[in-house]
């Protein structure tokens, strides 16, 4: 939007330009309460206490086997060396001396493998079920969240929480926890085994560089974390830019904005590239650096072991200080068992950080307040007459901004009530309250004299058929979409509904008829056709009360009139509410509520209101004459 040159832009300018995209993402960049989140993360495992116990047990056993094994490996090699010395002095190598050691070794390695298999097997079950449960929890949450939650969040954010965050958590849950756990066991175990061996200089050589590795890992991961965070922030900027440019594609093209947009995109990708490079490079260096430290260890152990070995042979070192060449191999194994876990943990520290951040976002969503539970499970679905009454209803979406105040009206059974008024007058809000998408702040709404708050939401909503401004259709065939409200409907009924909604001819003109698939957001049919399909869907449900909220705003008036004729037939004896800008739509209403700023300013029939020559008359006449009403 704003002009800029191609050169890299200063940090501050960049930050201020893209802060817009980040408005809602502040909390996401970093787990704020890492400890609390971690504890809660752990508490998720509670229901799986028994399998988890076995996971811990088997991983301990497997690590233990791995920790003990090098000792026997060492002694086997010592024996072999002796045997080779025998051979060198003319004897014959006798393997029987090693059998005992080899048997133990085989047993150790086999059980290590077996236990690690068990551990993987059980923990796979735990992690899959855990994530399955988490997904189900979030899904259930979605079903119970009040609509106000959806109004506050953008679709993209909610979807991203469910899709990306859960995946992120599930991806590293198992590997992170298990890696940390086995690493700790391995480090402690190797340390203990080295101490038991009693060779203090070798032990010291094996572990002296470990603090260095730990320090290096810590430092590097701190630096790389900063770059990773910058990377994710820029990724968010990129997302924001792309989303806007793709969604506003026609505008971008028509206003010749492609070059600007591409230039802007380049700026962000350059920056993303830089951040991504730094993050990957720094964290990528960690592994070679740790390997270097590790290899230093390796060499120093070889050297030290050699010194011991030669020293013993020369007699300069007492023979009991060192067992033989096999001990070098033992210590080499321990040294790698000691440092590998540290390398592994340092590698996954970033994963743990990011999965904790994701877990926190998931938890935040799970902690959102649910809709108020139904007061009763009273399922008397059959509303006989359909008389709707609003009595002294007050409501506001935002605390300090009253929207509807003391609203009262009655819709008689079988009548058509139209609601008109300028944008923001509260027309849709009335529908939201009636459907209990939102709950009133005060006052009562009744159907046939029953307070809707004493009914369950399901029972209440079962009485309504509703066509909304927002024409939501899902990816599936036209048939599936029309039958959405009543899946057991026969094809005859479906065709009747399609005919009533004036969409039948169109559907039949399509090569695949009712089996025509609709794409994402039903982008393959026109806005008006989408509205007609949603009307057919509502008609098929055959509701007691029909609500049309700007249902035909993109349909031409002729089609609309035909729909109305069909609808009038259908609506005989049923109550209906119609919200429309187009006043021709509502001329036939039994009662017209004229709303302005949350209050009903006029009420009556079309003729009556015209005669009264008030706000409605002004609105109505502006449609045809050149008379220009003043702004309000």
């Amino acid at each position: 939007m704003s002009k800029k040159n191609k050169a890299a832009i200063p940090e501050t300018e960049y930050q201020s330009r893209y802060s817009a995209y980040r408005g809602d993402r502040k909390e996401e960049s970093k787990p704020e309460n890492a400890k609390g989140t971690f504890l809660r993360f752990i508490s998720l495992i509670k229901p799986y206490a028994v399998p988890m116990f076995f996971v811990v047990l088997t991983s301990m056993l497997s690590t233990l086997c791995n920790v003990i094994a090098p000792r026997f490996m060492g002694s086997t090699i010592n024996i072999l060396q002796e045997q080779i010395d025998v051979r060198l002095s003319g004897g014959v190598i006798d393997f029987t001396a090693t059998y005992g050691q080899v048997k133990i070794l085989a047993a150790l390695y086999l059980s290590a493998s077996f236990f690690s298999f068990l551990q993987e097997f059980i923990s796979a079950g735990v992690s899959q079920r855990l994530v399955c449960g988490l997904r189900a929890d979030l899904n259930a949450k979605l079903s119970h969240l009040p609509l106000s939650y959806y109004d506050k969040q953008t679709k993209g954010q909610v979807i991203s929480k469910i899709v990306n965050d859960i995946e992120n958590v599930s991806g590293s849950l198992k590997s992170s926890i298990l890696t940390v756990m086995t690493s700790v066991i391995q480090v402690v175990g190797s340390f203990v085994m080295m101490c038991i061996s009693g060779n203090l200089p070798m032990t010291f050589a094996a572990i002296c560089l470990v603090p260095v590795s730990a320090l290096v890992s810590y430092k590097v991961s701190r630096i790389s974390k900063v770059w990773f965070r910058r990377y994710w922030d820029t990724m968010g900027d990129l997302n924001g830019h792309i989303e806007e440019m793709y969604a506003g594609h026609t505008i971008v093209r028509m206003f010749g904005h492609e070059d600007e947009s591409v230039k802007e995109f380049r700026t962000i990708t350059e920056r993303l590239g830089k951040n991504s490079f730094m993050a990957n490079m720094i964290s990528g260096i960690l592994s070679p650096v740790l390997t270097l430290i590790n290899n230093l260890n390796y060499v120093s152990l070889c050297l030290l072991g050699g010194v011991f070995f030669i020293g013993i042979k020369n007699g300069t070192i007492p023979a009991n200080a060192f067992g033989g060449i096999g001990d070098i191999s033992t210590f080499l194994s321990y040294s790698s068992q000691f440092s590998n876990p540290i390398i592994n943990v340092s590698k996954i520290i970033n994963n743990i950080q990011s999965s904790l951040a994701s877990a926190e976002r998931v938890f935040n969503m799970l902690d959102e307040l649910d809709e108020k539970p139904d007061v009763s499970t009273n399922d008397h679905k059959d509303v006989l007459h359909g008389e709707v009454e609003f009595r002294d209803v007050s409501f506001r979406y935002v605390e300090d901004r009253p929207l509807i105040d003391d609203l009262s009206f009655v819709a008689k059974p079988g009548s058509i009530t139209a609601i008109v008024g300028p944008t923001g007058a509260g027309k849709t809000t009335i529908v939201n309250l009636l459907m209990r998408f939102y709950d009133v702040n005060s006052g009562t709404i009744t159907i046939d004299g029953t307070d809707i708050y004493t009914m369950s939401r399901d029972a209440l909503r079962a009485n309504f058929g509703m066509v909304l401004q927002d024409t939501w259709l899902f990816k599936g065939t036209i048939r599936e979409n029309i039958k959405y409200g009543r899946q057991d409907a026969s094809d005859e009924d479906m065709i009747e509904a399609a005919k009533a909604a004036q969409i039948y001819d169109y559907i039949m003109s399509l090569p695949e008829g009712f089996d025509t698939p609709l794409t994402e957001d039903a982008a393959n049919i026109s806005q008006g056709q989408r509205q007609l399909l949603t009307i057919a869907r509502a008609i098929l449900v055959d509701p007691k009360v029909l609500i049309l909220d700007e249902a035909t705003s993109s349909v031409d008036t002729k089609t609309e009139q035909r729909i109305q004729t069909a609808m009038n037939e259908l609506m005989k004896g049923r109550t209906s509410f119609v919200i429309a800008h187009r006043l021709s739509t509502i001329k036939n209403a039994d009662n017209i509520l004229v709303m302005k700023k949350g209050a009903i300013v006029e009420q009556g029939t079309h003729e009556g209101l015209l005669k009264a020559d008030g706000f409605y008359a002004l609105l109505y006449n502006s449609q045809y004459t050149d008379g220009i009403p003043p702004e309000d």
Binding site: L80, Q81, T154, V163, M245, R461, K475, S554, D556
Partner: protein, 611 residues
């Protein structure tokens, strides 16, 4: 996938360097077992302190070299993969910017965004880990074997035994595990779609009491995914332990045979060889250790490949999307005196058949590939000409092609037959810049960008002054509400203009078009969210202030088109009437029907009476 990978082209140099250093690094690593064996052999067992020290230093040297090459590999592979993802993203974005709206709709905006961000990241990750971890593996195997043969051909032949084992494992991975993970990926996609629909349709779902149904639909997929994920994870759980056991057994056999071999050697003549038995063994054990850790990391990379392949396919679909619009090679500059003219001559249009057929290639049912019937014409034989200062209105029933007609003017689609001339030149011969300069377009759904109101209005004219902006806002009837905002023109507009009402958005998008000062302005039903009073005021002010502009206007309300110079009535894409309001009342049955549905009897009489 090949096409997606071909974008690696510009990054050949770092790519090759990265492979080079990976190779060098692997070779360096192979020297470590060799020198371990030498240290043990010549240094320790040879009881030669001097030699031991020397060899340790050489080994240290190799270690340092191997680290340096490893860092170089990291540097170049990161450079390659990052550069690659930038190239890929830029390519996609440029490509999408040039696509027509219908191409974008085919894929869907949300999917396009995911493809540009997440899918590219998947491909980036796999390129990075391939360069860092996958490429060294074959080198390690081949080099390791070569080294083994060099050290001890007899033992090396034994280690060839590991090859069939590795082959079997590779087959297991490719035949069982990879397909499993690609199935998992498909289920994840399905689940995302269910979630997406659930969130965007929340009101409808609740209104139809379908929460339970949606929950079941979700639960089914969730369970299926969990089951499959579990099976895949469990196969993987067997994989590593079995592999370890196999390789350890192999080590045992090698040790036994190599030590046993010493029994058949002659002590006198082959003394040295016997003595070297143990050092060689050391080298082999280290070598096998390298193989085990290499294979473990291969498995983890292979498992993530299906995901990257799916991402690659999605990216490829964008790369292969053919833009319907072919730009002119020699754009024509219109003559000055023709400015503002618009002419349709015999324009017909139908959508091109969707190239979705290709996808069905993999479907088992061959029946489906039967040729689809031809799509019907959306527009047929439209002809009219309009000059600056005139208003052309288009009216018609739903699906009659009004929006399509509008979209043809700025060449969002190409006509199938006939031609459209802007300023006397066929739109196909005009450069996109020229079209953009001459036409302002206001689509059905107003779309605003995040930023300030000023940013949004200036979209039309980058250097617009405040006075120009205010004038445009005033004409668009948006001045009073912008005035009442605390920050005025600098008020923040959130993404897609969410913080403004539908009517406000429409007025701002009209102002954006007005400020552009175009010769032709196309309003595609852009008053639908306005209440009638505002609609009337807006129309009056447009007529007053844009007297020299050629206006094309689509409307549902007869009131909006009443005073147009020319009203085109569309029915099923065909013009069934053209003329002024009064002419059409006389001559056009459909127009009369539309009018009757909107005007009260009295108003109708009034209109007729005026004649």
């Amino acid at each position: 996938m090949k096409k997606v990978l071909s974008m690696l082209g510009p990054h050949k140099v770092p790519l090759i360097l990265s492979i080079f250093f990976a190779t060098v690094n692997t070779v360096m690593q192979l020297f470590i077992p060799l020198y371990t064996s030498k240290i043990v052999d010549e240094g320790i067992l040879g009881e030669n302190m001097q030699r031991l020290l020397e060899l340790c230093l050489v080994m240290l040297g190799f270690t340092v070299l191997s680290i340096i090459t490893s860092i170089a590999n990291t540097y170049f592979s990161t450079k390659t993969s990052v550069g690659y993802s930038i190239t890929l993203r830029n390519y996609i974005f440029d490509k999408v910017s040039r696509l027509s709206q219908s191409d974008i709709d085919k894929i869907g905006v949300s999917s396009l965004v995911t493809r540009t961000t997440n899918d590219v990241r998947q491909v980036h990750d796999i390129v990075l880990s391939t360069l860092k971890s996958l490429i060294p593996i074959p080198i390690m195997l081949v080099g390791g074997l070569a080294m083994a043969f060099y050290m001890n051909p007899k033992l090396a032949r034994l280690s060839l035994l590991s090859i069939p084992v590795l082959m079997v494992l590779a087959i297991i991975i490719i035949a069982i595990i990879v397909p499993m993970y690609s199935k998992v990926q498909k289920l994840v996609d399905k689940m995302n779609q269910i979630m997406r629909e659930k969130i965007s349709g929340i009101r409808v779902i609740r209104a139809f009491n379908k929460t339970q149904y949606e929950d079941n639909r979700f639960a089914d997929t969730n369970l299926e995914l969990t089951g499959l994920g579990l099976r895949a994870a469990r196969i993987m759980a067997c994989f590593i332990p079995v592999l370890t056991v196999l390789l350890y057994s192999l080590i045992c056999v090698v040790i036994y045979l190599s030590v046993d071999a010493a029994n058949y050697l002659d002590v006198e003549t082959q003394y040295e060889q016997i003595r070297a038995t143990l050092p060689n063994m050391f080298a082999f054990i280290t070598f096998f250790g390298l193989i085990i850790s290499a294979i473990t990391s291969v498995v983890s990379i292979l498992v993530s490949i299906p995901r990257a392949v799916i991402s690659g396919k999605r990216i490829k679909a964008i790369m292969e999307a053919v833009s319907d619009i072919v730009l002119p090679e020699n754009p024509v500059t219109p003559k000055e005196e023709d400015a503002g003219k618009l002419e349709f001559s015999n324009v017909s249009f139908k959508y091109k058949p969707r190239p979705a057929e290709k996808k069905k290639k993999f479907a088992l049912k061959k029946k489906k590939t039967e040729e689809k019937p031809q799509k019907p014409f959306e527009l047929k034989n439209i002809s009219f000409a309009s000059a600056p200062g005139e208003t052309t209105a288009i009216i018609g029933i739903t699906g009659s092609g009004k929006t399509t007609l509008c979209n043809l003017i700025p060449r969002l689609y190409d006509v199938t037959e006939g031609e459209i001339k802007i300023a006397g030149v066929n739109v196909k011969d005009l450069s996109p810049e020229e079209i953009g300069k001459r036409i302002a377009f206001i689509p059905q759904t107003a779309y605003l960008f995040s930023g300030t109101i000023r940013d949004n209005i200036c979209f039309g004219k980058k250097d617009a002054t405040d006075a120009e902006i205010w004038r445009a806002l005033e004409i668009a009837q948006a001045k009073s509400f912008v005035d009442s905002l605390p920050d005025g023109l600098d008020s923040f507009v959130s993404q897609a203009g969410k913080n403004f009402s539908g009517g406000q958005k429409q007025r701002l998008s009209i102002a954006r078009a007005i400020v552009k000062g175009a010769e032709i302005i196309v309003f595609d039903d852009s008053f639908s969210a306005l209440d009638l009073a505002t609609d009337a005021r807006l129309r009056a002010s447009l007529r007053e202030n844009l007297s020299d502009v050629n206006i094309v206007i689509v409307a549902q309300r007869v009131g909006t088109v009443l005073n147009a110079d020319r009203i085109i009535v569309l029915d099923n894409g065909e013009p069934v009437g053209m003329g002024t309001h009064r002419e059409l009342l006389e001559s056009c049955e459909l127009y009369r029907e539309i009018v009757v549905t909107q005007l009260s009897e009295e108003a109708l009489e009034e209109v007729n009476g005026n004649e």
